[in-house]
């Protein structure tokens, strides 16, 4: 109880609440503008988060994370152009409801209600499940943590990338980047190219902004060459959903939120998978399945509840095991680490008030998102109209300012630009940027626990295969990496 009171004291500071609300608003704006992503929003505002004292910056990032997932539905409904991949399924019924049925306000209202429901539902699951899982994880030792890091990396590379081998290469390169600088175990200075700049390691923030924001800007410039901005729906009618609509979609909301929370827990999946699975299940169980695709309310509610429910679910492995599920949670985990909060079961013991502050912050972020969604939707609908030729130069400037302001270092800017250029080409070649970033994040954990395990066993590698939990994660990692080959074999069989 004392921990919860401490957490409330941390959150209910005017500046922190303002930061949370600002984060939600910026997140919605980023989500609703096609071409800007959740990762980009988080990466760009990452340096700004450290201007806040204590947990304030984390709250702002939580706001961006929740807001951006929801924001994607606005352009999906009004433009038939999803702001984020997680909102692709929302276009299937959201856009027909807005155009064919001429009820854009109703579509936005149902999506806002579903997003809020999904977010709150998954946060409650997080609050209930995470401490229990953390208790189990407290029994883990170095070999289990090493196996967990490998498992997290393997499942992400196998799911998030178009090619598993390229995903592995990206992840390995990320792990290598994490070795640059002073080795924590031996004190050796490794791969710094005789510069003092790399003594503290490859700076995470410039690489993050480079691969997630700057590379995305370059891709958007390429996409803009042929594209024409769609004419948006200008008039948005009443957005508060009716009681009849709420009753109609309630079961769908619960089902989709459960699906989204479960999918969110699995590293390497995400909102896009959750929204399609939720949509598919809603169609399968609906009495009006034939109306799906023509503006069916359940078809709007299901993907939005599903993709927003991912947010709470995705925090379960991050907070309890220190395993980020995707690029966005990797960024969030990076932010926690920079703030001195090392995700993992010990966090629940050593920094319990901070954990509760994150729980309450996520809950508040979803509620603020709902309030903003219902009250400011007409404003956000206008944000959708901002032309790309104005937006992109501003984003370019923000990548530079955000990178520079973190350390007041031009070397960081050069690193960001180099990462952005490289990220642009790697994206085109089918590499997963998330795998590289997660490699950097998990690199230190993997190496330290690998070395620590071998010290425990006097150099005997059997330690990784003689402990059941460790073996389970290593086998699961191997299976996830071999899944494409195994899948082909099963098909042939």
């Amino acid at each position: 109880m004392a921990d919860i009171l401490s957490a409330l004291n941390m959150i209910f500071v005017p500046l922190n609440l303002l930061g949370l609300a600002f984060g939600v608003a910026v997140g919605i704006a980023f989500g609703c503008m096609p071409g800007l992503s959740v990762n980009m929003g988080l990466a760009l505002l990452f340096p700004l988060a450290f201007s806040f004292q204590g947990i304030g910056g984390i709250l702002m990032l939580l706001g961006i994370y929740c807001g951006a997932i929801y924001g994607g539905s606005i352009s999906a409904i009004l433009l038939k152009t999803p702001g984020t991949p997680a909102s692709v399924a929302t276009t299937l019924d959201g856009y027909p409801m807005a155009t064919k049925l001429k009820q854009p306000g109703r579509a936005l209202g149902i999506s806002t209600m579903a997003s809020t429901f999904g977010g709150v539902f998954s946060t409650i699951c997080l609050i209930l499940l995470a401490p229990q899982l953390a208790k189990v994880a407290l029994q883990f030792s170095k070999p289990e943590y090493f196996a967990l890091a490998i498992f997290g990396l393997s499942i992400i590379t196998s799911v998030s990338s178009g090619s598993v081998v390229k995903g592995i290469m990206g992840g390995l390169f990320g792990l290598f980047l994490a070795t640059v600088g002073i080795d924590d175990m031996s004190g050796s200075i490794r791969f710094t190219m005789d510069t003092t700049y790399f003594l503290g390691g490859v700076s995470f923030i410039p690489v993050l902004i480079g691969v997630f924001a700057f590379a995305q800007v370059l891709s958007s410039i390429e996409d803009y060459y042929h594209s024409e901005q769609a004419e948006p729906i200008k008039f948005v009618d009443k957005v508060l959903p009716s009681w009849a609509d709420f009753k109609k979609v309630f079961v769908t909301l619960v089902r989709s939120s459960t699906i989204g929370t479960f999918i969110g827990c699995v590293p390497g999946t995400g909102g896009d998978i959750a929204s399609f699975v939720s949509y598919d299940q809603a169609k399968r169980w609906s009495k009006n399945s034939s109306n799906f695709g023509n503006g069916e309310p359940e078809g709007v509610a299901a993907p939005e509840a599903g993709n927003n429910a991912v947010s709470g679910g995705a925090f379960i492995p991050v907070l309890t095991l220190g395993i980020p599920g995707d690029g966005a949670t990797a960024i969030m985990m990076g932010a926690l680490m920079v703030q001195g909060l090392q995700p993992g079961p010990l966090l629940f013991v050593e920094k319990a008030p901070d954990v509760y502050a994150i729980f309450i912050g996520l809950l508040l972020a979803n509620l603020i998102m709902g309030i903003m969604g219902f009250s400011l939707i007409r404003l956000f609908a206008k944000v959708v109209n901002v032309p790309v030729h104005i937006l992109l130069p501003i984003i370019v400037m923000m990548t530079f300012v955000g990178t520079y302001s973190y350390n007041n270092s031009m070397n960081d800017v050069y690193l960001m630009v180099a990462s952005g250029f490289t990220g642009y080409f790697l994206n085109k070649l089918g590499f997963s940027m998330s795998a590289i970033i997660i490699g950097i994040i998990l690199g230190s954990m993997a190496e330290q626990n690998f070395v620590g395990s071998l010290i425990m066993s006097d150099g005997n590698f059997n330690i990784f295969f003689s402990r059941p939990i460790c073996l389970f994660f290593l086998v699961a990692a191997a299976l996830s990496l071999l899944s494409p080959v195994l899948g082909k074999l099963f098909k042939k069989g």
Binding site: T179, D183, S186, S188, V396, M397, S405, Y414
Partner: protein
């Protein structure tokens, strides 16, 4: 347009080269086991080996699926790509200009250059966007957050 088979071939070779370079660099550190565990070169050496192995697997995969991968096109030389390459040059010049002119004057050139690159020529909107963005950055970062933006080398 290049095909994915050709790109994969280049990526495999680069991957093998980077992997080998990591192994060479790591071998300059102790690799053997002591009472303090494996030497500081062991883990990076293992990563370099794994990267090289993954690159070899990619090469093998590319050869065995050459026909299928040749049909996948990768846009690298289209006019849209050339626009991106021009943007890269603009950004590289901007990085240099920040040192020479300082952050704000260089940014006052970058924003119009980017908008013109995107075939937008309305001078009024370009001027408004430039002034608005720079004013926003000045207020938030310089005034409120006290960030000292890079100054011209002639002023330092």
């Amino acid at each position: 347009m290049k095909n994915m088979a050709c790109c994969n071939f280049i990526v495999s070779i680069l991957g093998m080269m980077i992997g080998a370079a990591i192994m060479m660099a790591a071998s300059e550190f102790p690799l053997e086991f002591t009472e303090n565990g494996p030497g500081p070169g062991f883990w990076p050496f293992a990563l370099g080996t794994a990267l090289t192995a993954a690159a070899v697997v990619l090469l093998g995969y590319t050869f065995s699926n050459k026909a299928e991968l040749s049909k996948q096109l990768v846009a690298l030389t289209l006019p849209a790509n050339k626009r991106v390459y021009v943007m890269m040059v603009i950004v590289a010049v901007y990085c240099g200009l920040i040192t020479v002119l300082g952050f704000y004057p260089a940014s006052a050139l970058l924003i119009p250059a980017t908008m013109k690159l995107m075939d937008f020529h309305d001078k009024k909107i370009i001027a408004l966007t430039t002034v608005g963005t720079i004013a926003f950055i000045y207020v938030i970062f310089t005034v409120l957050l006290h960030t000292q933006m890079p100054q011209s080398m002639f002023l330092e």
